[in-house]
Amino acid sequence: MITWPNFVSQLFNGLALGALLALIASGLTIIYGTLGVLNLAHGAMFMLGGYAGFAAYQASGSFVVAVVAGTLALLLVGLLMERVIVRHFYARPHEDQLLVTFGLAIVFVETVRWLFSSESKTVSPPAALAGITPLGFMMYPTYRLAVVGIVAVALLVLFLVLYRTRLGMIVRAGIEDAMMVDCLGINVDRVFMVVFGIGAMAAGFAGIVNAPIVSLTPEVGEAILVQTFVVVVIGGVGSFPGAVLGGLIAGEIISLTSMVNPGYAYVMLFAAMTLVLMIRPRGLLGAHGRE
């Protein structure tokens, strides 16, 4: 039964999911845009962020500590992964990059399963954000409202880093032409490592922020990865604004379709992706030649 409050609350759910997807997709898309590597372990990184945060939460009991720990842990994972493995694949074909990151995704998921078992884990939101907020005509979980704000701030930080710093300028230049950036005498190796770290960090942050909404399992990243792909295809590879727009569109589609029939959420998402591919193959905000 679709009622007005039900519809609005689904809109909010879509916004929260969309904001998260936007953040994760931004990480994926700047890594791909700059390094040319499609990171199939990105969903697993989202999951790792959740578990790293969960471990910190258990040790400290503080949600803030959990968020910081989840984010920093993934920064470290990203830096290490680039340094030890991904770096050796820049010169290899795209397919090899897909294979190795896919393999790493399995290793991440199975390591977590080994350490934490397959049972689902929950992280409680901080007391201040627990409970329900009355919005006048409806009640809505406070934490979900907060997530929209938290993620919006994170996206803003990412935006400022990308568009207002020297590093961001190098990254954006690298997305257009990595070889040229290399020729300009910029230490691309270090930039690449940092970009991978930032992308991983964004996924990890999203993972722990999401943990109080959906309980953690080792497989939680898999569905997110697929949704992130759709976001990137809709928004356009290598485009930060595209990732944000695509994320919001995908979030609303999933959420509003679920209200009618959850079974069709993916079908609608896929239909939207197909539509974009038909009308504008490079994505809504994608540029030519980024493939």
């Binding site: 791909y32 499609l38 493995i85 050796h88 290899r92 795209h94 397919e95 090899d96 897909l98 294979l99 190795v100 896919f102 393999g103 790493l104 399995i106 290793v107 199975e110 390591t111 399963r113 080994w114 397959s118 898999e222 569905a223 990865l225 697929v226 792909f229 759709v230 990137v232 295809v233 590879v237 029939n261 959850p262 079974g263 069709y264 959420a265 993916y266 079908v267 998402l269 896929f270 992706m273 197909t274 591919l277 038909m278 193959p281 493939e291």
Partner: protein
């Protein structure tokens, strides 16, 4: 380096024979090694699934992470027929499932193949996920949702005098082994057919494959449908094997496992997925059983996979093949040391004139190529502005102009690689504006590129074969079971082209091992092999040594006797020697046109090149 040779007629028979022998011997040998029959059967199903996937990934270069959609489709269609619909014919049901998967594959391919590379990978993942959810929800009444379809019967085949019952374990094995054998025998034909050769071309260089006149999208779709058919049959067999069609067939994990097994076993060899499945499933049994690792087995296998991808690029079979080749080469070198020096030295280009070809332009006179006010803008930059240009059949035309004059853009418009902003292109009097590169090549107009566009991991002969096939078979043809040797005129055309460009002695050398000058000549050879009536050459002499230049000019002269050519180059002495008329472009416009002597004397041309004394722009 070439993944395999396309032209040894006896090898497929030998391979098929060895495969048959191995499949027959397996039930007698494998039990001694402690293999459970159920594991062996599962390996066969994965191996069959992987044959089609290898044609898609290993041969065509399209890495799909969505094969589970087709595996599941074939499996559930067959299982539904055999259980709920009460359809009694098992083999027929399997074939219907296979056909359904192929049909679905066609539709999926239409969407997924709109993009290439990582986009293709992402789209296939998304599509497969949709199938998974559709199976669980909207179609749950037909598919059993999360319960799957239990009660899939085992096959029995009535031979007239007796009926064979294939039940479980080793009793089911012959049925699966037979399916695998038929699958591999057909695949061996496919990869050695003209289509198989074109698919390799697409893997190595899709742009050039299209430019020599093949419908790349059509062939990719064909590869996708072939892979879907194999997936569908394998899915059906999974139901038969387990007496139950599990919904897990549709999961991303299925697609992932297929990719992993193919990468581990080795791609582009057809048997890779079988080898990979054997390793994966045996290790799984071993880690879970004797080692008692329980659920951690997958972590170990994941690590094994990562290590293999990092260190053994071509997989297990690829590693064995490379080792074998290294040993064979060493042995070959020892043998050759006593006899004559190894390898025939490169011969300079033969100066024999090319024979006349079907559409070599001799049936056509007058202007073969005309442009009317041809214009190309890139944003605010006008690369070409209102170019009126005409070349007569039989002419050799040179185009010169300073860097940035718009020469290459002009060529790209003529071959329909880029769409003009305004203006018309007429080829043999026909308006070709807005056609695609492939069609234009089929009409007899092609180009050799300024930067080499070759099929790098294939041999010289294979390179030229790809181009010649487009001329002999048209832009799209599904002659999947045809042998290359059955195509009349192919050997002659390839041999002749190689003679002409002086690479006959290097025919079995992989392109990656050629010297630069040889690559440039092969670049021209690819254009020649499609027997164009109008050949465009974009800086054929660029980067060559003086000797190579002289040789190449000689080659171009002999080619020019039989067809119309337009040549861009910066080497004016060579071009003035070669061309009958010269067109000078500057800043996107025609500056001058005339015989070489007139151009040399033209003061405006001199200004354009020397900067001029009157302040004209360089």
């Amino acid at each position: 380096m070439s993944v395999d040779r396309i032209d040894s007629p006896r090898r497929p028979l030998l391979v098929a024979g060895v495969t048959a022998a191995a499949l027959i011997a397996a039930p007698f040998v494998l039990p001694w090694l402690g293999a459970a029959p159920n594991t062996v059967n599962r390996i066969l199903v994965w191996g069959l699934f992987g044959i089609g996937f290898d044609i898609l990934f290993g041969y065509t270069g399209l890495l799909s992470f969505g094969q589970s959609a087709l595996y599941g489709t074939g499996g559930f269609v067959a299982a539904y027929l055999l259980t709920r619909a009460g359809f009694p014919y098992i083999v027929a049901a399997l074939l219907i499932g296979m056909a359904a998967a192929a049909a679905v594959g066609y539709l999926v391919g239409l969407v997924a193949l709109r993009r290439t590379g990582i986009y293709f990978a992402m789209i296939t993942v998304a599509i497969a996920e949709v199938f998974y959810f559709v199976e669980f929800n909207p179609l749950a009444d037909w598919t059993g949702g999360e319960n799957g379809l239990p009660g899939v019967p085992t096959p029995s085949v009535n031979l007239g005098f007796t009926t064979l019952h294939f039940t479980t374990g080793w009793a089911l094995y012959p049925f699966l082994a037979f399916c695998y054998f038929v699958g591999i025998a057909i695949a061996l034909r496919i990869v050695r057919s003209p289509v198989g050769v074109v698919l390799r071309g697409i893997r190595e260089n899709p742009l050039r494959t299209a430019a020599v006149g093949h419908n790349v999208h059509g062939y990719k779709l064909a590869a996708f449908v072939i892979a879907a058919a194999y997936a569908g049959l394998a899915g059906g067999l999974l139901g038969v094997l387990q007496a139950f069609m599990p919904p897990e067939a549709f999961t991303f994990e299925t697609s992932g496992q297929l990719v992993i097994q193919t990468a581990i076993g080795g791609r582009g060899m057809l048997f890779g997925p079988l080898a990979g499945a054997a390793l994966w499933l045996f290790l799984q049994d071993f880690l879970q059983g004797p080692l008692g690792l329980g659920a951690t087995w997958k972590l170990v296998l994941g690590l094994v996979f990562v290590v293999l991808v990092v260190f053994l690029r071509e997989g297990i079979l690829g590693g064995i093949r490379d080792l074998y080749r290294r040993v064979a080469r060493r042995k070959g070198e020892e043998d050759a040391a006593g006899a004559e020096p190894a390898g025939t030295p490169t011969r300079p280009p033969a100066a024999t004139p090319a024979p006349s070809r079907e559409h070599a332009g001799n049936g056509f006179s007058g202007p073969i190529m005309q442009t009317i006010s041809l214009t190309k803008h890139y944003g605010g930059v006008a690369a070409n502005q209102a170019i009126d240009f005409s070349v007569d059949a039989g002419e050799v035309r040179g185009i010169i102009g300073p860097n940035g004059a718009g020469k290459t853009t002009f060529f790209r418009m003529l071959t329909c690689e880029v769409l003009p902003t305004a203006g018309t292109i007429l080829f043999k009097g026909r308006d070709i504006t807005g056609m695609d590169m492939t069609e234009v090549c089929q009409l007899g107009l092609t180009k050799s590129y300024q930067v080499n566009q070759l099929f790098n991991r294939l041999t010289v002969r294979e390179n030229v074969t790809i181009a010649a096939l487009a001329a002999l078979r048209g832009k799209f043809r599904l002659d999947l079971m045809r042998r290359l040797s059955d195509i009349s005129g192919l050997d002659g055309r390839v041999g002749h082209t190689l003679e002409l460009v002086g690479l006959a002695g290097r025919r079995d050398t992989p392109v990656a091992q050629l010297a630069y000058g040889e690559k440039r000549r092969l670049e021209i050879g690819l254009a020649l092999a499609s027997s164009p009536s109008l050949l465009l050459l974009d800086e054929p002499l660029a980067g060559m040594s003086p000797t190579e230049r002289a040789e190449t000019v000689r080659l171009l002269k002999s080619i020019g006797q039989e067809r119309t050519m337009i040549v861009i180059d910066h080497d004016m002495d060579s071009l003035f020697e070669l061309a009958e008329r010269i067109t000078v472009l500057q800043e996107g416009r025609v500056l001058a046109e005339g015989r070489p002597a007139d151009i040399k004397a033209n003061t405006r041309v001199q200004e354009a090149y020397l900067g001029g004394l009157n302040g004209a722009q360089a």
